[in-house]
Amino acid sequence: MTTTTPGELTAPAEPAPPKAPPPATVRRHWSEHGLVFTLPFLVVYGLFLVWPLLSGIRMSLTNADIAGTRSDYIGFDNYAEALTDPDVWSSLWNTLWFTLLSTVPLVVVGLVLALLAHHLRVVAWLWRLSWFAPFLLPSGVVCLLWLWVIYPSDFGFADQLLAEFGLHPGIGWLTDTRYAMLSVVLTTIWWTVGFNFLLYLAALQSIPQHLYEAAELDGAGAWHRLRHITLPQLRSTTGVVLVLQLLASLKIFDQVYIMTGGGPDESTRPILQYVYQSGFTGYRIGYASAISYIFFALIVIVSLIQLRITRRRREENAL
């Protein structure tokens, strides 16, 4: 899933509920108790987030299978197996590799597109339609489109486009280990860069105009304004975009599952797909849970690093 859950990991370090409630001069009816407001959500939250989180830990310590034939406690055997399973390592590596390959272009392209749209100030609808609209398409639609009409050899759109420029077509976009991951990255950029584009565009519009006016009076050129006003003003947005993008990329599943099935030679299989294969194709949900938690640990590490960075920046800003 590459769509981002908003606000993820951008929660403040400490929960900060507001201070005092309205003066409780009236004795309230039970239906006005705060719990009545929060309970419906808390029930769903408890049942479908907290409970699976905890039961998953228990499950990862058992040999549970999907059919429920057994569920014996086996200690940390699953974790030990996972850490020595070459498929875990290779799919973790593929996940990181995809994240590295996709994050930088997604952030940079998003920024460039936003700068273009912001500075041109014309046909705004066209920019939004072409760059943001793909983000609204379901992954199934996007991936089928690329799988069946863009990437096929020879008659696929990509090969035909190259042929127009006199290049040699017949590339195994998704079937050649050299190109498969890059093709997945390319599709992902086309599909999701619109989100980053939008965040940057919103940030650009909130840069105070007077900064530019002052610079203009000083006779600063466009390049100078970009380097010394725009980019510094976008720094915190870039931080957010970067983190959201990292987390989204780490969770890659749809594109690979649909377009390559993890192949060729499992060269694109991400960790989530391996969880899926172990747990659902192979029925070993105990083992799959264990791998999930290893993956979770990775995500938590990334988030903690991010928290640290934002906190330090906040402190710097405070100085």
């Binding site: 239906s31 419906p40 029930v43 040999n63 299978d65 999907i66 059919a67 429920g68 034939t69 057994r70 197996e81 079937t175 192949g263 060729p264 030679d265 659902f280 194709t281 192979g282 029925y283 070993r284 083992y287």
Partner: protein, 433 residues
């Protein structure tokens, strides 16, 4: 009081949890959901049969779904069984039965009910029927067997002098004799005389070829209980060296993926083609002069790698009643009408069909029907069967041997180690599976 309570109301609805996606069945009709994975020619045959079944059974509302072939299909089927809202009946490759935790993800057939619809154990080859049972309980009813066969181009073979008076391939026996026949065919076309799938993504052709020849030597892959490797190195090496010889001496096209191999034979570039029988409709449609025969016996025992399509009853909480009966009626109907299915090349498992004149008149589909008694199915382990890890892993190794990137010795060692790895992976269902 307020609209916001809608959320609470929703939870009330949850208690009445039966709210699965609504069915389209009209009242009075029994809903029968059937899942399968047949595409291409098989898909067309299946659809025609389903239409005929529906026309004859107005009281049943048949909802058929074609899911994506291979591992996605089996994953969904297993999850549906676990979820308990599975379809009434589904197709399954028989060699995958062990991986389906019969009794948990699959429900047992009611043999009396099946007999009421005219189908009994006596209608099937003993071995095949037995493969559908676990601990004496019948979980799968075989529909067909789909073995590897030898396609031959009748024009090419005629000119190479390989046909008998009736235009059939003269029986070939022994590894050298087969090599000579292939060479003769190659001299006619001026290239390799044989083509087979030798590489590709998730390639399994090389595994099929190996398992066919290796079974002909009488070798075993695993011990009877399926816990240890029982490969006879000498026999396996003989087979692997022979396979490599075919490609190295230019007898067999060295590099062809599945589609490529189908196309090469279609273009008349080779005299022979080793593949499953299911491409028969492809060639019947192109007007290629061809026929088909059992894979010749090269190493002493007549045997051919195969798998079987079978019907199973995915696990439903509270299976029974009209829908279960409809499922049994459906299975029996499909079997007794399997002559239509045989058009796709598969050898029907239902013995009475093998005697039907309609079937015998079907050429070349009935030419290799005797293989039904010599097919070799995978060992009964959870990682076996069509599109299984066994096939894909060993397929990749033997592809290396065929294309020369591995020596036969190296291929054997690698196959052993991959097999050991599969055996070492804890079975999801414990020791029994």
């Amino acid at each position: 009081m307020l609209g916001s309570f809608a959320g609470l109301g929703a939870f009330g609805a949850l208690a009445a949890a039966g709210c699965s996606a609504p069915s389209g069945a009209a009242s009075g009709q029994t809903r029968l959901r059937y899942w399968h994975l047949f595409g291409g020619g098989d898909g067309a045959n299946m659809t025609a049969m389903l239409d005929a079944f529906q026309a004859e059974h107005p009281d049943i509302d048949l909802e058929a779904a074609t899911l994506q072939w291979g591992s996605p299909y089996y994953t969904k089927l297993g999850m549906a069984g676990a979820g308990g809202r599975a379809p009434e009946v589904a197709a399954l490759h028989l060699a995958r039965l062990a991986g389906f935790a019969p009794g948990r993800l699959l429900d047992a057939f009611d043999l009396d009910l099946l007999a009421e619809h005219g189908v009994t154990a006596a209608d099937f080859p003993v071995d095949l029927w037995r493969r559908g049972a676990v601990d004496g309980v019948q979980y799968a009813v075989p529909l067909d067997t789909h073995p590897m066969v030898l396609y031959y181009n009748t024009d090419v073979c005629e000119r190479a002098g390989l046909l008998d008076g009736d235009g059939r391939l003269r029986p070939v026996e022994g590894a050298d004799a087969f090599a000579e026949a292939v060479r003769a065919a190659g001299e006619v076309t001026g290239g390799p005389g044989l083509v087979a799938e030798t590489l590709g993504a998730d390639t399994i052709g090389p595994w099929r070829m190996f398992n066919t020849f290796y079974a002909q030597t009488g070798g075993q892959l695993l011990t009877e209980d399926g816990t240890r490797i029982a490969i006879d190195d000498a026999k396996a090496l003989t087979v692997l060296r022979y396979m490599r010889r075919l490609t190295e001496e230019g007898l067999c096209v060295e590099r062809a993926d599945y589609q490529g191999s189908v196309g090469i034979f279609a273009a008349g570039e080779t005299g022979f083609f080793l593949n499953g029988e299911w491409e028969v409709t492809t060639y019947l449609n192109t007007g290629l002069p061809f026929s088909m025969a059992r894979v010749p016996n090269l190493f002493g025992t007549a045997a051919t790698q195969a798998d079987c399509h079978a019907f199973v009853l995915p696990h439903q909480t509270g299976r029974g009643g009209a829908s279960n009966e409809a499922a049994h009626a459906f299975v029996a109907w499909m079997l007794t009408h399997s002559v239509d299915w045989a058009a796709g090349g598969h050898v029907p498992a239902y013995l009475p069909t093998l005697e039907e004149p309609d079937y015998l008149a079907m050429r070349p589909q009935s030419e290799y029907r005797e293989v039904i008694d010599e097919v070799v199915l995978d060992p009964q382990v959870w990682f076996a069967g069509s599109a299984s890890r066994l096939w894909i892993e060993l397929g990749a190794v033997f592809a290396g041997v065929l294309t020369g990137s591995r020596t036969p010795e190296d291929g054997l060692a690698e196959a052993r180690s991959r097999l050991q790895e599969l055996l070492d992976t804890p079975s999801p269902f414990g020791e029994t599976a």
